[in-house]
Symmetry: C2
Subunit: 419 residues, 2 copies
Amino acid sequence: MLQSQLFTKTRKEVPSEEVSRNAKLLIKAGFVDKLQAGVYTYLPLGLRVLEKIANIIRDEMNRAGGQEILMPSLHPKENWEKTDRWNTMDDLYKIVDSSKKEFALGPTHEEIVVPLAKQFIASYRDLPMYVYQIQNKFRMELRSKSGVLRGREFLMKDFYSFHADEEDLDRHYEVMITAYKNIFKRVGLGDITHLTFASGGSFSKYSHEFQTVTGAGEDTIHICDSCSTAINEEIIAEQKECPECGGKKLKTEKAIEVGNTFKLKNKFSDPFGLAYKDSEGKDHPVIMGCYGIGLGRLMGAIVEVLADKAGIVWPASVAPFAAHVVEVKSAESANVAMAAQEIYGMLSREGFDTLYDDRNVNAGEKFADADLIGIPTRVVVSEKSIRAGGVEMKGRTELAGMIVQKEKLIDLLSKNTNQ
Amino acid sequence: MLQSQLFTKTRKEVPSEEVSRNAKLLIKAGFVDKLQAGVYTYLPLGLRVLEKIANIIRDEMNRAGGQEILMPSLHPKENWEKTDRWNTMDDLYKIVDSSKKEFALGPTHEEIVVPLAKQFIASYRDLPMYVYQIQNKFRMELRSKSGVLRGREFLMKDFYSFHADEEDLDRHYEVMITAYKNIFKRVGLGDITHLTFASGGSFSKYSHEFQTVTGAGEDTIHICDSCSTAINEEIIAEQKECPECGGKKLKTEKAIEVGNTFKLKNKFSDPFGLAYKDSEGKDHPVIMGCYGIGLGRLMGAIVEVLADKAGIVWPASVAPFAAHVVEVKSAESANVAMAAQEIYGMLSREGFDTLYDDRNVNAGEKFADADLIGIPTRVVVSEKSIRAGGVEMKGRTELAGMIVQKEKLIDLLSKNTNQ
């Protein structure tokens, strides 16, 4: 893409009430725009990142047997009354239409997916069943100060599993834990994201969270020194040692929750009468699990954790572009633009998504913008690089670039992006 | 995909209050589920169709210069007051949170995209600018009886163009008309979809709609006999002849609006003070156009128009799968399943999305389901087809199939799907 065509521009200023580092950087670099507290527009660069995150998640959810669907946001009041959450969930947005009919704006989808599943589950032969969606959620957050980490409106992947018994739920729960570990590894947060034991509520001993260590986190976790499993602050009083390995040496850190998994068991199947017949015709409640990841929150966490002083640092797997070609013209260099266009054409033909900075601004501004936007590899084409026999290639976090012959560029880029 | 794994099943019954043919067929075949009037869940088959429609639309919008973004659904009341639509738009869903802050649930996005554009447009050099999104819309329909054709919540593509003057808007408007014609042609509705002149409201002489002829349509249009342009009933009193060619012979038909285009001019830029400086530093209002297509509605229109007595008929471009392999076992035929698996494997390897009916149900039920689901090509593997030297290949609307050697299957399928 030609950068001169991109309608967004980097900004010097961000809205003064914006305090979070992730939103400040994402706004400055032109990935998101803030409409109001906790409500953001994804701009072209941001939507590209969101799509890459979505596709990694889809890939892992499909491998785990999930079938993708898309449920609505307008939920009938009756469904929320059935589970007794119409009056008990504080952050539920409610709507009344002009015929006095009431709706909830979905903050989660158990109330919709369970009656849906009921239409397709009758016998043990219909189990297990796995569905997921990537869909907007709404939660009434009166004070949203964490940028894209905690929104009033946000995209979430929610996966629901339906089982004949708890053994089958336990088996699949492990499949999901592995899938989640794969996701966080693939988006570049593997090393600092910890499987964390948290409260299971009234229906399970534990739930699990995936917590990414960052000073900006709203949660406190205690990380086991020997197996790196963590315990959420909320249960540390009753759970003083690592539930995984029994380790007693724990390190306290601030962290942000990037995913969670719950064993719901029959909590939601019971209110809707979701049951199945076994091979002898006997009825049993369907046992459920649910598994969530917030996409915008994950994007915000990546920014929050990996950014440096100069700007965002995207891992190759979720970067909006694989390469950023920067043309540096001087007065006497008509050939630079031609050489840069050639490199841009070559990279595009070879399948590398490339942003080409063809703007008429000075080199300093171009380099600062490239650092702020955070594309993994910068490819500078200048009078100097041409004289030296090629282009100057530099990884986003590398201090200095190196001159590379254009014939070797594709090979090196392929290594960087694991293509 | 193995049909035994697909969690949806075809149904004999649909909700009794469902009157529209499109929703009846989509529910019976397992493409959508009705949560409440005008609110549907897209099931795996339906989401596949929706994604294919979305990608055709994206492709044409990108060619027309559009940059994709994603705007939110929770809109601040202030924005809707600025355009005076907070109190005048009847079908606006309004929400009050517990701090008494008010929001609108976006039925359209002029109120959001204009202030967004204002942040990036200052000079004539920033124009034209083209953005679009594919996003959920909410409209308070008290009676929704048209299936997925008119929903309370529905996915829409909305494209907004920003121009220095009306000449540039006029030029781009023609680009969009061509893009829309391409879209309706590519989804299989080209021949029966008419560019239709409609009321331009208070700010333009005309707007345009794309109307697909069907008895189930809510609109009435008058189609010019010589150039096939149409006139919407709402303006036929003042516009009695074809505005395109002057033709006077018009044919009256029921039709459904599948797309629309408006010249908004300065209607929305003025309330937000969206202006630009020309090369001499003089201020001018930015001139706008907007262009919508409802994705679910388009899907419903395809079903409504192309279905036959046996079920849905998907054009190859939007079909959930390219081929439907149906294995027909008899008591003595252990080899049929093996042969069918081999065909399924071969088609998948060659890149054809294939649904493989491996279920243990009788042939009659499988054929009826295949017709109902409406995948363009059915490939039957049976004792009979194997004896005859291959598989039986049949187009969805063909009366009889023909025996094809498996080596020739790929060639023939490629022709059917234009791969």
